[in-house]
Amino acid sequence: MEVEAQQRDVNNVMCQLVDPEGTTLGPPMYLPQDVGPQQLQQMVNKLLSNEDKLPYTFYISDQELVVPLESYLQKNKVSVEKVLSIVYQPQAIFRIRPVNRCSATIAGHSEAVLSVAFSPDGKQLASGSGDTTVRLWDLSTQTPMFTCKGHKNWVLSIAWSPDGKHLVSGSKAGEIQCWDPLTGQPSGNPLVGHKKWITGISWEPVHLSSPCRRFVSSSKDGDARIWDVTLRRCVICLSGHTLAVTCVKWGGDGVIYTGSQDCTIKVWETSQGKLIRELKGHGHWVNSLALSTEYVLRTGAFDHTGKQYSSAEEMKQVALERYKKMKGNAPERLVSGSDDFTMFLWEPSVSKHPKTRMTGHQQLVNHVYFSPDGQWVASASFDKSVKLWNGITGKFVAAFRGHVGPVYQISWSADSRLLLSGSKDSTLKIWDIRTKKLKQDLPGHADEVFAVDWSPDGEKVASGGKDKVLKLWMG
């Protein structure tokens, strides 16, 4: 028997399985060269003692392994004498179908649609527009549900609370209004405090406080304010930036990150509003921030299974578990995109110096977004391209070219396999991460596309723009 096996003359390779952060899994072992990704997947599942068979992708020196080891080794002429380290990355269990058709074009707004957001459970859709109204849309019948009037000027940003119970919108007049999404009525008077327009709103994660009470808003007047929805007033004012604050994010560790036009990013703690760190490095305005755990913070306790929770405590528990699983042992990572055509990858809890500088864009970077599993970062720039970077090291992976106008916003599908981008040239494009190519082109808008969002359950995509209609796309 043994003689026969030897005579089969299959070479063996010494392999070591490594996870994306660098910790090894199991001892190095001899594997025959006809082993492919499926067998490696079985092995990883066994070594991790997973009950369900979770899908994994494998990378050898940043290149994905799709063929059996033998052909890979031959193509790349890797020596069999050294230990080959194979990095495995867990993939989402569910697979999102790519959207390819516009299922509905809903008119309703009388001015350009400026922002679009799905609720964390994916059941409701809200949009803010230049006609000073916020509209809630019914997804099952694809018609308008409520029109929320109350703002005095354009509605620039909207944000859902992670438990889905509140919707908050900020306008160009500097006022913030809180709405009840089930009735479409305002929850009270507008919250006044900012002197110039609101550039961004971010809620406190549900695993830090449930039910959701506090959110932070950033404004052109240079400060960020923390508001309490139940007290209906501003609790803390974070001032320190000298120019407009362009983006604000509430991190999972209970700190707030603000990026500003004065080229700095400030990290604040939330109980007193004190400045913890200042991250300097950019040469021009900071346009956009992205956190590695952002998607989990946004969706809170909801995930692709669509389970509803009754009590706030339960939600907090589930959200905390999801957050811990997502974060792992690594510190939270922050990516900032700027007008100086570059992006920085920071680990703010570790050091105030950037970890990596991501250069390559030829025009300003407008929007950066981490994938839901935190493995990739995508950046949209005015140079008509979308670039994909490794989410852990910050190394450049691929550039997606296809748009003919500046790319304004991007959005990931919930399984991190598809990336959606909306641009000034009125098209949306879906890019496949595995093949690094264009998957689907979604033309149809009559004018620039200002806002795109993919629902957390992966079923629908909503987009709005200058042509005043909201388009829903389905697979």
């Binding site: 350009a112 400026l114 000027n153 940003s157």
Partner: protein, 260 residues
């Protein structure tokens, strides 16, 4: 109108009439009705002129009233909702409208076709031929006058070899030949000593361009590889145009400004 001071004198001596102020007040009150009656009754050109004056007064009064009605306490932000809503990330940026971009590209294409380039010195003094060339008399009796010597600075290039002396019509003296130019970058305001690659255009004529004459206003191409400029595509720029800004034959050096 009184032609003297007798009225004032009487007032100073005996004071005002007992009903003077009341009568004055009432007369002024009646003025309004009188004016109105006149406005309604006046005919012809007189009426028209009066109506015009009255209208001007009315408009002025309305303006002053509106000004007074404006509250002194300013509101925090503008109340009116403007058209053309843009999202927050586009608010501080002024984007050129599509129409402007298209018209700009068309204008640029037209200019390129016409051969008009934007240069720092658009007009230069024309140089006459007798100023540019000196007639050289040759021959045994020095009667032949077909040779010319260039009196201005020239650029010939490294691979230049003279034509046989018997047949060359234009003589470019080696003392007036220059290879390098002191070129200033207009924005950085620093000057570099760069090699001349060639003469692109001499505004005085195509003959001078082909001879390589460097006068004020000539467009030359200089070697900028040592500046380390890179195009957006990633290629290294090694030649750029510059315009000569001095009279090299007077100064002994070629000065220019880079055309960026």
């Amino acid at each position: 109108m009184p032609q003297g001071d007798y009225i004032e004198r009487h007032r100073k001596l005996h004071g005002y009439r007992h009903d003077h102020f009341e009568r004055k007040r009432k007369k002024e009150a009646r003025e309004v009705h009188k004016r109105s009656a006149m406005a309604q009754k006046a005919l012809g050109i007189k009426g028209k002129l009066f109506a015009k004056k009255r209208y001007a007064e009315k408009a002025l009064m309305k303006k002053t009233l509106a000004m007074h009605e404006e509250s002194s306490s300013r509101r925090k932000v503008d109340d009116d909702v403007h058209e053309g809503a843009v999202p927050a990330y586009l608010l501080d940026r002024d984007t050129t409208t599509r129409a402007k971009v298209l018209s700009n590209t068309i204008k640029q294409k037209r200019k390129e076709k016409a051969g008009k380039w934007e240069v720092p010195l658009p007009k230069v003094r024309p140089v006459a031929e007798d100023e540019m060339f000196k007639v050289i008399r040759t021959g045994k009796r020095k009667t032949k006058q077909w040779k010319r010597m260039v009196t201005k600075a020239t650029f010939v290039g490294p691979s230049f070899t003279r034509k046989p002396p018997k047949y060359e019509r234009f003589i470019r003296p080696s003392g007036l030949r220059f290879n390098k130019a002191h070129v200033t970058h207009p924005e950085l305001k620093c000057t570099f000593n760069l090699e001349i690659i060639g003469v692109k255009k001499n505004p005085n004529g195509s003959m001078y361009t082909s001879l390589g004459v460097l006068t004020k206003g000539t467009i030359i191409e200089v070697n900028v590889s040592e500046l380390g400029l890179v195009t957006p595509a990633g290629k290294v720029v090694w030649g750029k145009y510059a315009q000569v800004t001095n009279n090299p034959e007077n100064d002994g050096c070629v000065n220019g400004v880079l055309l960026v």
